[in-house]
């Protein structure tokens, strides 16, 4: 009995110690429940982050294109195929007043980066070999904040001067070009240019690496006959799951068509949402099971301790003091249980990282030990302990002392 520790703490901790078996059993139960929640949350979050990272690493969150008429100029590594199907003679349309739109969109708080692009189909010619490719004209400073090309460079540099071109790794192999080599670009309209390969990038998929080239915005504009114009605007947003919302707001604000990654990857997004709902549901019911477990233990404890409660009341303990003694027990059980659960969860996450691997030995996907998750688990478990303890605590507090002492 330490000095200065309040009566309620002293009594709560002694009662928990006294009912050692009950206390240890319920702590094990809470610990397993919290551990499962922590590991499952980390696993789902890790998997989700992994998938989304893959999808969004070479794609803007939102792409703005001119208002829909008949055909839509598509672009980007993921949709390179579609870009090629585009009828060759169709002129690439420009977005009206794109500079104003960029300013407006960039001013939105939800938006983190905006980058104009002029893109279209061209032929890459090197000696005898000719390949149909997509040329994407960008402003490096802006575009690299959306797709970090410098991180994807495998040779040379992500330099985009007026005569530079950065090409996909498979295209480079196919055409047999290396950094510093010249590459001729021909457009259906008759425009031609000779550019120097300044860098070779790996965009993560063979299709993209085969068909994607990057040039400076001005170079593309000249090639594609889009002087002063852009064919699309890439946008990234703070919260990727709000991308569709933001896209609709942009559309309403500017009149251009805005396609979010959610819309262009509907199946993926639905799968992600379903998983999130399942995760929340499981958390809720595990939490409920924990709360009922704590309540059950404390109800038994109140019955077992009814004589002690009666005695404490007889010696002047108030209802509030008795109430708090049992509420505290609930909170302490929740907190200790969540600490045990956090340890179990962390252990499971570490074991996962060490044992579950791809056939080639690399980790399947990384699981992060997110401190926020542990904090949330501790707070939630403590709160549910408190809430679960409320009914038993009230029973204890309302016990008729005369009846309790009579036994």
């Amino acid at each position: 009995m330490n000095d200065w520790v309040p009566f309620e703490w002293i009594a709560a901790s002694r009662f928990l110690k006294e009912g050692r078996m009950q206390t240890l059993s319920i702590l094990a139960g809470i610990g397993i429940g919290v551990g499962v929640i922590i590991f499952m949350s980390a696993a789902l979050a890790g998997q989700l982050a992994n998938v989304v990272r893959r999808v969004l690493s070479a794609q803007a969150h939102i792409v703005l294109v001119p208002p829909q008429e008949v055909a839509r100029p598509l672009r980007g590594p993921e949709v390179a195929e579609a870009a090629i199907v585009q009828r060759p003679l169709q002129r690439v349309r420009s977005i009206d007043q794109w500079q104003r739109i960029i300013d407006e969109v960039a001013a939105m708080p939800a938006v983190t980066a905006v980058s104009p692009m002029a893109s279209g189909s061209v032929l890459a010619v090197r000696g005898e070999a000719t390949r149909s490719v997509s040329v994407q004209g960008v402003e490096p400073d802006r575009y690299f904040r959306i797709v970090p090309l410098p991180d994807k460079i495998v040779a040379g540099a992500a330099r985009l001067g007026a005569d530079d071109i950065v090409i996909g790794a498979d295209l480079a192999t196919d055409l047999g070009v290396r950094v510093g080599d010249k590459l001729n670009i021909a457009v259906a309209s008759g425009q031609r240019a000779t550019l120097t390969v300044s860098g070779i990038v790996d965009l993560g998929s063979k299709g993209a690496n085969m068909r994607t080239t990057y040039v400076a915005l001005h170079t593309a504009q000249a090639l594609l006959g889009l002087i002063g114009g852009v064919s699309s605007i890439d946008v990234t947003v703070r919260d990727i799951y709000a991308a569709e919302d933001v896209a609709q707001r942009i559309s309403a604000l500017t009149g251009v068509e805005a396609d979010s990654w959610i819309k262009t990857n509907t199946q993926l997004y639905l799968a992600i949402s379903a998983q999130a709902i399942a995760n929340t549901t499981i958390r809720f019911f595990v939490g409920l099971a924990i709360a009922f477990g704590i309540a059950a233990v404390l109800i038994v404890s109140v019955v077992q301790k009814s004589k002690e409660i009666g005695i404490l009341r007889a010696m002047g303990a108030s209802r509030g003091q008795i109430l708090r003694v049992f509420l505290l027990q609930g909170a302490v059980l929740g907190l200790l249980g969540s600490v045990i659960g956090s340890a179990l969860g962390a252990l499971a996450i570490i074991l996962w990282g060490a044992l579950v691997r791809n056939p080639d030995g690399t980790p399947l996907f990384p699981l992060e030990l997110d401190p926020e998750l542990f904090l949330a688990a501790a707070i939630l478990a403590t709160l549910s302990g408190l809430i679960a303890a409320y009914v038993p605590a009230l029973r204890g507090a309302r016990l008729d002392p005369a009846a309790a002492i009579r036994g």
Binding site: N2, F7, A314, G316, S318, A402
Partner: protein, 235 residues
């Protein structure tokens, strides 16, 4: 009776009020205990002794009549005020030495002060030691309640009942479970408390020889008090 620590006027108690089995257990009790009195309460089993003690101890409320404890008329008091009055004015000793088993002897004696003041302090400890000393149990102060004999536990219970220096000590068959020698030991402790501190004591007992050592014997039969008997000690 300005000096009455306990004053009952036409106090009634019914159990199961409002149900078909409603029974009146105490039928209009008038009783006054003066400051410093050591009074025995005797009567057959089921006559209402514990019921009466619980009313006086503010653990239960009368169904009718007026109950005044240490000058406070209690019928208008809420649970908080009753709890406070109980904690500060009344100490209890029960038949089944109800120490709190999770605590040591010393901690049990500290408990009423702890409950009152919220946190332990060195002064509480000192007072508890002194009280344990007065019942001859200092060497056992760190024993858990469960590791002591019945007589020792009951002496700890007396020490605990005195922790708040109450005006009134209520004891419901404190020696009922003890052998004659231990019973006399516990009674001697109460007698000494009464003498040294002027504590008013009401003790329920079936033990005639202990009752005879009190200042006064109150008899209760079927929920009614019969005229006081003299005691051997006080004729």
């Amino acid at each position: 009776m300005a000096d009455a620590v306990v004053l009952l006027e036409a106090v009634r108690k019914s159990y199961n009020v409002g149900t078909p089995v409603e029974t009146e257990v105490l039928h209009g009790i008038d009783l006054a205990l003066e400051k410093g009195e050591l009074c025995a309460l005797m009567g057959p089993s089921g006559s209402g002794k514990s019921t009466l003690l619980n009313l006086i101890g503010l653990l239960d409320r009368p169904s009718g009549g007026r109950l005044t404890i240490d000058g406070h008329e209690t019928s208008g008091l809420g649970d908080k005020a009753l709890t406070r009055l109980r904690g500060h004015t009344i100490g209890f000793v029960f038949q089944y030495h109800y120490l709190i088993p999770a605590f040591t002897a010393l901690e049990n004696v500290i408990m009423p002060m702890l409950v009152d003041r919220g946190r332990p302090d060195p002064e509480m400890r000192a007072r508890a030691e002194a009280l344990l000393d007065s019942v001859g149990l200092v060497p056992w102060r760190n024993n858990l309640a469960t590791n002591m004999s019945g007589g020792q536990q009951q002496r700890v219970a007396v020490a605990r009942a005195l922790a708040m220096n109450p005006a009134l000590l209520l004891a419901d068959e404190p020696t009922g479970n003890l052998d004659t020698k231990s019973a006399q030991g516990v009674f001697d402790v109460m007698r000494a408390v009464n003498r040294d501190h002027g504590t008013t004591i009401l003790v329920v007992t079936h033990n005639r020889s202990l009752a005879d050592q009190c200042d006064r014997i109150v008899q209760i039969v079927d929920g009614r008090i019969t005229p006081d008997e003299g005691t051997a000690a006080h004729g």
